[in-house]
């Protein structure tokens, strides 16, 4: 029972990956196929989760929407992680003006609250999925840079790192072979939570019309379309939201479990 949250989180993440990978086979219909005679149908036998204002099958759109979410989450986290790790490790290892300069840049990025910078950037770059990813990466590397720098600052004073330096290892080797592999635990936990953040951010930007553009199905744009019909067809609003909630909840639970494991405690999240 103590491990239930971790199992649940893992199962949800596995379901997300499977749903994204097998979407063309799992979806009962073409997510873009319009059937105006079947518009706004409630959930039923023909369409398990109903249809939207253009008669498109909601279940198929939710399944295909998982592809967008997973794609944004993976690319954003991978790119942000690479940039943040590079900046943070160089800043932490070199110190001096390199560290000072890098951290002042980080401070400026941190002065933009939450999703604001991503909204501003997608507003000027134009609404598209790739601009969303670009904006989220520009916003996302900062957290990793700060975290990695802190970890490197701690690690570089440890005896095994000093020994490696005393043996004549180059800075690159000390960093790549001895420091980075040992600071990667907290970064992995941060990356897990960042995936949930990226999914919510993409959905939020698509909700505002700045992200994924029609007819590509995205959970955020489905919610925005559903909002217009909330009085007559509330199911349009419910299902994409359930998909986002379950995905984010699952990833957060997995992140909590990973964090507890890194700390060496089996204590469930939040305790």
């Amino acid at each position: 029972m103590r491990r239930f949250p971790a199992w649940f989180g893992g199962a949800v993440c596995a379901a997300l990956v499977l749903s994204a990978a097998l979407a063309p086979w799992l979806a009962p219909a073409d997510p873009a196929a319009q059937h105006l005679a079947l518009r706004l149908l409630p959930p039923g036998a023909g369409h398990l989760l109903g249809t939207d204002a253009l008669g498109r099958d909601i279940l198929s759109r939710v399944i295909h929407g998982s592809r967008v979410s997973l794609y944004v989450a993976v690319v954003t986290v991978a790119v942000s992680l690479a940039i943040g790790t590079l900046v943070g490790s160089v800043a932490g290892y070199k110190g001096g003006w390199v560290e000072e300069g890098a951290m002042r840049v980080v401070d400026v990025f941190l002065a933009f609250p939450g999703i604001l910078l991503a909204i501003a950037l997608t507003a000027v770059l134009g609404p598209s999925l790739h601009n969303v990813i670009l904006a989220l990466c520009i916003m996302g590397w900062v957290g990793y840079a700060r975290l990695v720098r802190g970890q490197v600052l701690l690690a570089r004073e440890l005896a095994y790192v000093e020994s490696a330096r005393a043996l004549g290892c180059s800075g690159l080797r000390v960093m790549g072979r001895h420091i980075l592999p040992n600071v990667f635990g907290p970064v992995l936990v941060e990356a897990t939570f960042a995936m949930a953040g990226a999914i919510v951010a993409e959905a939020g930007l698509s909700f505002l019309g700045l992200g994924t553009q029609p007819p590509t199905p995205s959970w955020g744009s489905m919610l925005a379309e559903g909002r217009q019909f909330i009085l007559v067809a509330p199911h349009l609003t419910v299902w994409p939201g359930v998909a986002i909630l379950l995905t984010v909840l699952g990833i957060n639970l997995l992140g909590d479990a990973l964090r507890d494991r890194m700390r060496g405690t089996g204590t469930p999240a939040g305790q």
């Binding site: 002042r104 840049v105 401070d107 400026v108 002065a111 933009f112 609250p113 939450g114 999703i115 604001l116 910078l117 909204i119 501003a120 950037l121 507003a123 000027v124 770059l125 134009g126 949930a196 919510v200 959905a203 939020g204 909700f207 505002l208 019309g209 700045l210 955020g220 919610l223 559903g226 909002r227 909330i230 009085l231 509330p234 609003t237 419910v238 994409p240 939201g241 986002i244 909630l245 984010v248 909840l249 957060n252 639970l253 999240a269 939040g270 305790q271």
Partner: protein, 306 residues
């Protein structure tokens, strides 16, 4: 405390300069000709030339930057492309509505998190604690652009208790404040509980209990006073998240605040207004961070000595 304040204000200067630079660069990041994007492809050449001259886009970048900085310091952020009104005035008019909503959301969050976190810590490991922690996790994971429409569906459409949107009556605050404050309430509840549990385990608390002090007095005088110090920081940081979250919440509830103005400006490609809105939200966030640091320093003298 005076030295701490001066040091903190001094540290703010490069960050402010960085924020102003980033906001200035927004217009220059527009792919292609920004004037064409703002006025549309069908715009007359004369109109384009006029806008270009008005915005000084033909000047060297350094000159534009210096003019932007001078304008930002004196409160001149240009004029809105659509209304023709000064951007600073349009932004300032919307601040009270956003501030009111943000404060209401914070009241919701703190009002829920403090008592719930306290009860969970006191009854850690019991059914109530587990239930509250599951609810907190769901609250953290629930995006406000879904929660808002759901609350409208239940309380406005089905029950008819609360208005669908707008800010004309006091009841109109309820749903937007709940939408904006729920995630913060969930984060704070977890934080308050974890912080209380950590402090309750300290030796000075055991000493207070061993001295025979009443339980409530130990909790209020010794545990809460120490446990709430890190919570202050989280509240301050979350204030910024609320300001950004207000953009979506205000859009859902047609709330006449800064967030809705930002979205309207984006939709009409009124980039000087977008710049003004972004700058104002950032300034609000920086001010909240400063106030948080000051509160933290006032509550914990060790912070002032660092």
């Amino acid at each position: 405390m005076g030295t701490f304040l001066i040091r903190r204000l001094f540290m703010l200067i490069p960050v402010l300069l960085g924020v102003l630079t980033a906001v200035f660069m927004l217009i220059h990041l527009i792919p292609g000709d920004p004037v064409e994007v703002m006025l549309g492809e069908q715009a007359l050449t004369a109109d384009r030339a006029q806008l270009r001259a008005e915005m000084g886009l033909d000047d060297p970048l350094a000159v534009q930057y210096a003019r932007f900085l001078a304008g930002a310091v004196t409160g001149d952020l240009g004029t809105s492309l659509h209304s023709g009104r000064p951007v600073w005035r349009m932004v300032a008019e919307r601040v009270p509505a956003t501030l009111g909503l943000t404060v209401a959301a914070m009241v919701v969050a703190i009002g829920v998190a403090l008592p719930l976190g306290l009860v969970c810590a006191v009854r850690a490991g019991r059914a109530l604690d587990h239930g509250a922690m599951v609810a907190a996790l769901v609250g953290v994971s629930m995006p406000n652009f879904w929660l808002g429409p759901l609350l409208i569906l239940v309380f406005s459409v089905n029950l008819g208790w609360l208005p669908l949107g707008g800010a004309e009556e006091p009841l109109a605050f309820v749903l937007p404040a709940l939408t904006l404050g729920t995630a913060m309430a969930a984060i704070l509840t977890r934080m308050v509980r974890a912080s209380l549990l950590e402090v309750m385990d300290r030796e000075f608390v055991r000493t207070a209990v061993a001295k025979g002090l009443p339980r409530w007095r130990v909790m209020v005088r010794h545990v809460l006073a120490n446990a709430l110090i890190p919570v202050i920081t989280v509240i301050g940081l979350q204030f910024g998240a609320l300001l950004a979250g207000a953009i979506i919440t205000e859009t859902i509830f047609s709330w006449p605040g800064l967030g809705r103005l930002t979205v309207e400006a984006i939709q009409t490609r009124d980039y000087p207004l977008v710049q003004g809105c972004v700058l104002m939200i950032c300034l609000g966030y920086l001010l909240a961070s400063l106030l948080t640091d000051l509160c933290y320093a006032a509550a914990d003298p060790r912070v002032r000595l660092r």
